[in-house]
Symmetry: C2
Subunit: 287 residues, 2 copies
């Protein structure tokens, strides 16, 4: 299993990797396979990234589960070099959680993911059901997770009779964490939202802090939901409502998908999505 | 290296373990030794805990670095069983970061720790230097880290001419995270503090959220500092001022201490403390 990244990841980045990994580790204890974690080192060039694939095959691995990079074009290029190497040595690959970075990018590998469309839909319906009228959706990168979540959000809005007015907050990619949270909060205040869907639970906590600093109360003035139900969402008294990540089901499904790919290399590409569930906490409903 | 715990640790617990471990991992890359992480499993009884010590010796280890449990009497008992096992098989032990749990407990092993006294002192002086008049110190368990930090806080207060009035907030141990943060914030509001020293950066973030929920602004109304400079303190735009943990220096020193213990088993017990440094961020000073 691997995930490339261009810089040193903050906890908000490795948190998502951790939730993907934990499913495989749990399923591995059932005994049918072993997990060999692998990370592309940040500086790897094309040759190195391709060589790693050869080494994996030499070590007897039958396939690779791969979490594509989300954050930068550079890291995405590295991902592609590695995947080209896998192709060359005949290693089947199943992508986890998201397609390779790129707007509406067509699938080139099997993909097993959390149902981010359903996540966007359920979280939006939850906020609308609480009587929130101006719900925003925060997205930040051209990957399928963000695109799918946005689509769920738009679909939920479209279904309500009292008007359809999407408020999409697209975070500029050049902002770092220190700049991004104030930027998002300022946008939310400017738009005048009373609910917001964030693309990850760390983002939800960072946005809540900035809303509080601007004198708004969560959830009274703005209800906030995150995604993936990461441990950070249960670290403080103010729990983060979220859409859970079905880690173990994803690992089990990915194993079936790669087994099928090995047996039937020419089957059409599969995108398998598995539903999580809405977890309601204090950031949307006062306990 | 090991650390016992009684339940499944939250990220705020494993974060401290991680910062201890990272120093050893970095120093290990210099090549003079290898890190073999080990965790006592939550349910281990006396026999099992003692057996693990025997297995470590059989595997050729020359010594054990041990991070004592902080959170419960039960986990502390397990620690003691394990350490008794080490003693029986003649494995020298150096404790990391804190002495075994217990009020003013005498040292039974060498100990290498961050200078929590200096941390309490520097953080308090920082808040007093900002003109804060009513600074509280939050502590939560009968371990040397909390006792030492409190002592540093008291010493700093004692030095200022305009009065000496300690505000010690002792968190009841039976409270879980959901209960503890509101309890702490209510206490701080009741006492009327304008500054607070928290025993860890997760605690600082949890307290900040609760202060904001009560309509107070951080740092305007209450300046908040944490301890150990964990990644959480740099995860959001509102960075947490903290006293850094000198991970690598602790690992290097612990290696020297255990080498000396192996060479001179009858030397008097050493407590070595290494200073961190104050890291000033938004939670105390508006950027």
């Amino acid at each position: 299993m691997g995930g490339g990244h261009a810089g040193v990841p903050g906890p908000w980045q490795s948190a998502s990797e951790a939730v993907v990994k934990v499913g495989f580790e749990r399923v591995a204890t059932e005994g049918s396979f072993a997990v060999h974690p692998l990370e592309l080192s940040p500086g790897s060039g094309r040759v190195e990234a391709e060589l790693i694939a050869g080494r994996i095959a030499d070590n007897g691995a039958k396939g690779v589960f791969f979490l594509p990079s989300r954050v930068s074009e550079e890291a995405c290029r590295q991902d592609e070099w590695f995947l080209a190497g896998c192709r060359r040595v005949g290693l089947p690959v199943v992508l986890l959680d998201r397609n390779l970075r790129g707007v509406d990018r067509p699938l080139e590998y099997d993909l097993v993911a959390s149902d981010h469309f359903d996540g966007g839909l359920r979280c939006t319906e939850h906020l609308l059901g609480l009587g929130r009228k101006n719900v925003a959706c925060v997205i930040a990168s051209p990957t399928s997770t963000h695109t799918d979540r946005l689509a769920g959000y738009l679909s939920a809005l479209q279904k309500v009779s009292n008007g359809y007015s999407p408020r999409v907050v697209r975070v500029p990619e050049h902002l770092d964490a220190r700049e991004a949270y104030p930027w998002i909060a300022d946008e939310l205040v400017r738009i005048g939202v009373d609910g917001v869907i964030c693309y990850q639970d760390y983002v939800a906590v960072g946005v809540m802090l900035e809303l509080f600093r601007r004198g708004l109360n969560v959830p009274r003035d703005v209800a906030v939901v995150g995604c993936d139900d990461l441990p950070i969402g249960q670290s403080f008294a103010l729990g983060v409502s979220s859409y859970s990540y079905p880690s173990e089901a994803i690992a089990r499904t990915a194993l079936r998908v790669i087994a099928n790919r090995i047996a039937h290399p020419n089957d059409p590409l599969a995108k398998v999505v598995l539903a999580g569930r809405l977890v309601v906490r204090d950031s949307t409903v006062t306990g």
